[in-house]
């Protein structure tokens, strides 16, 4: 075959260029550790996500010192949870799946970007060093409301981040002869112990209790006060744990209307 000398040179240079590209990309993978979405997780039933222990309740979990796992569900046309909150200086592994059509989970302006295909779980581990708020969008057309599909990723400064959840249950109405009881439950989602103080107020009365909530567990306690001490009428109460507060009003009545036979469970004070 007759090939012009210049063309041979060009051919050689083209091959060098190609091999060079492959080498730099391989270096990015192996040397810098920029991994891709793979097939690490087994397939999943997209119609049965609500029975899956990871995706029934989409959430963030603390799994190691600075390690978190986020279980995210994409569906037309939203992401759950929203926002996703994680601390700065952490390593977060996202597990994302779809319950209906193909979506994407794309943190805008970053290379945290994956297709989300029903039946498959996309996993990627991301180092989040700086605090900040990022937009999360679906960049794969998923139907007529595609352009409304967005969420947020909040990278919170480490000292402001916790995974505490406060829940208080109390009766709405209490007979004057009974006790007003605030059933407090503090859930600590972090692996480390949470040392904190429960501060409560009912009417004029105040309470304070120092507690230690062990990692990945829930602490429950009940604060009681005699209804008679409060007197007939409406009394505001509140419970505060760190930055979390729950509050409502209890009414002390002379006698409960339905003879107090069954528990009048009213609403819990949860907002």
């Amino acid at each position: 075959m007759k090939i012009h000398t210049y063309e041979k040179l060009w051919l050689g240079a083209a091959m060098v260029l190609i091999v060079g590209f492959i080498a730099t990309i391989t270096y990015g993978s192996v040397g810098l550790g920029i991994t891709m979405i793979g097939d690490d997780e087994p397939a999943i039933e997209p119609d049965a996500l609500d029975e899956d222990e990871r995706f029934a309740d989409p959430r963030v979990e603390h799994v190691g010192e600075n390690e978190y796992e986020a279980y995210v569900v994409a569906r037309t046309f939203l992401f759950q949870p929203d926002p996703i909150e994680v601390p700065a200086n952490s390593e977060v592994t996202f597990y994302v799946t779809s319950t209906d059509v193909i979506h994407s989970f794309s943190v805008v302006g970053t290379n945290t970007n994956t297709m989300v295909i029903p039946g498959e779980i996309s996993t990627m581990t991301v180092e989040l060093d700086e605090p900040g708020e990022h937009g999360v969008i679906c960049n794969e057309y998923c139907g007529s409301g595609h352009h409304n599909m967005e969420g947020e990723l909040h990278v919170v400064p480490e000292d402001e981040f916790d995974m505490t959840e406060l829940e208080v249950e109390a009766d709405d109405e209490v007979a004057e002869g009974d006790e007003v009881a605030l059933n407090v439950s503090i859930e600590n989602g972090m692996l480390d112990d949470l040392e904190t103080t429960i501060e409560a107020e009912i009417g004029e009365e105040t309470f304070e209790e120092d507690v230690t909530v062990e990692g990945d567990s829930t602490y429950e306690t009940t604060i009681t006060v005699d209804a008679a001490d409060l007197g007939e009428g409406d009394h505001d109460w509140s419970v505060t744990v760190d930055d979390y507060e729950d509050s409502d009003t209890v009414t002390v009545v002379d006698e409960l209307e339905d003879d107090g036979d069954d528990e009048n469970d009213g609403g819990d004070g949860d907002e």
Binding site: M1, I3, H4, Y6, E7, W10, L11, A14, M15, L17, F21, I22, T24, I25, T26, S29, I34, T35, M36, I37, G38, D39, E41, A43, I44, E45, P46, D47, T76, D100, V101, I102, S104, S106, V108, G109, T110, M115, I117, P118, G119, E120, I121, S122, T123, E133, G135, I137, N139, E140, Y141, C142, G143, S144, G145, H146, H147, E150, G151, E152
Partner: protein, 583 residues
Amino acid sequence: MSNTFVDAYPRQSRLIRQAFLTSFVALGVGAFFGLLQALHRTDIWRPIESSTYYTVLTGHGVFLVVSFTIFFLVGVYQWAVTESLEREPVDMRFTWFWYGAMVFGTLLAAIAILAGFTDAIDISADVLFTFYAPLQGHPLFYIGLVIFVVGTWLAGADWFRTWWAWTKDNPDKRIPLPTFMVLTTMIMWYISSIGVAASIILFILPWSIGLIESLNPTLTRTLFWYFGHPVVYFWLLPAYLLWYILLPKLSGGRLFSDPLARVVFILFVLLSTPVGIHHQYLDPGIAEGFKYIAMTNTMFLLLPSLLTAFTVVASMEHGARQRGGTGYLGWLKALPWREPAFTGMALAGLVFAFGGFTGIVNAGMNINYLVHNSLWVPGHIHTQVGTAVALTFMAGSYWLIPQLTGNRLVGRGVALFQVLLWFVGIVFMTNSMYRGGLIGMPRRTAEPEYDGFEYEIAAGSVGELNVQLALGGVLLFVSALLFLSLMLLTLFNNDSEPIDERTIPAPLSGPEDSPAVLDNLKLWVAIAAVLVVLAYVVPLASIASRGGLFGPDVSPFPVSLETIVSVQFITTVAESLLANLGR
């Protein structure tokens, strides 16, 4: 007395004119949809609801990359085969049959898409050109696509048949280069379009009719991309044919190397298909190793395009020197820049070179994560298909249409302005798209600005990007209209002088400089098949075994409001439309 193609082959010219006409109608509709999108996305003018944007987007994609490009391809290839073999098809009725099938398929798909604009008919197919299941369009859409693809298969069979008839009369001759390009393109097309045909016929169509209840979205998606990358070369190779065959002549010279042109087309046969997974770098359920293999194969696909760059530029330089050009770069001035066919193709080649490098970014698997599905990607598509291909087709038409009609091109000066306008338009539009993609703006969305965050842009502003995109879109639309007007005027032009001589000068280095093995098509088919098997059997088996052949139990997500209703009625309408068109 002129010596045009239509004088020599009036029956062929009629068919090719018809194919080009269909192609240009699709171009007109698709370009108008493109204009709507450019203005809607940027929130400059929103005459439609944002939910209707996706109907427009589906039409833009299908009409331009399926109808416009492929009807043009069959026209050019019919011309190339006839001209280079100096021979007509064995049976012209068969030729009209495949053309009819392609038109019929297009009409069915078009009805399914366009019905999405009205609530009066319960049909729609807002599934975009990629129709990823479980998004579900009306069955008519899928049926139309299948008929269209079968039509192209028959077209290929027709060209092979003509060539076989020719070999009987010319047993020891090398395959003429244009026919070689046609046959190799079609081999690539047969190997690759099997994927989309399987995806539709085995899974998506029965599922859309309700014969099967579910499918495996990763599997149908992978089969789509098995076809989805080579289809890009199906659009591109007719442009390559024009660059190799016509551009050297327009430059005033001859093709630099026939052997290398053959090597280039063989490389496309071998490498076009085993790369499709590079569109799925971000897909879960496909192991990283398969993605790596696709990446390396893709990088080697640079080779035929780099070789083409050399040959085309060398041919142009040769032409320029024949015209009296001198100096290292001074010869550039001697090129026929006033000739719209030449200038259009040269600009298309320039844009293609730039766009090729953006394609390397896409192909770089880990860099791809930054730009995947961002506006960067349509930026790449519009430089490659929207300019390298489309502008070459338009420029080529300025030379071909006079050959096919015997009418002198109307408005050569306007034509020159038209190709320049396209170039300017694409520079504005894709500049905005590439930059928008880098800040994370998504593609394929009616409203790229969100409530929860603002794009962080280092230079310029989102407003400025929007203006550039809209301006580019408007310029491109005006340019397309100018082109179509000139084509129409030329069609009805009674003036027949002057028209360029139709003969193509022989290459500087002819086929005798290359080994005959290059023409052994069976060998290349066999090697291509082995490469496809190596690249795809294991990934496909893995995907099917993970999610099941018919998938996890995922419900269809109809984008069409109502399926199956009145298929009968629509078929009747389509048939009568076709009958009218055939007249």
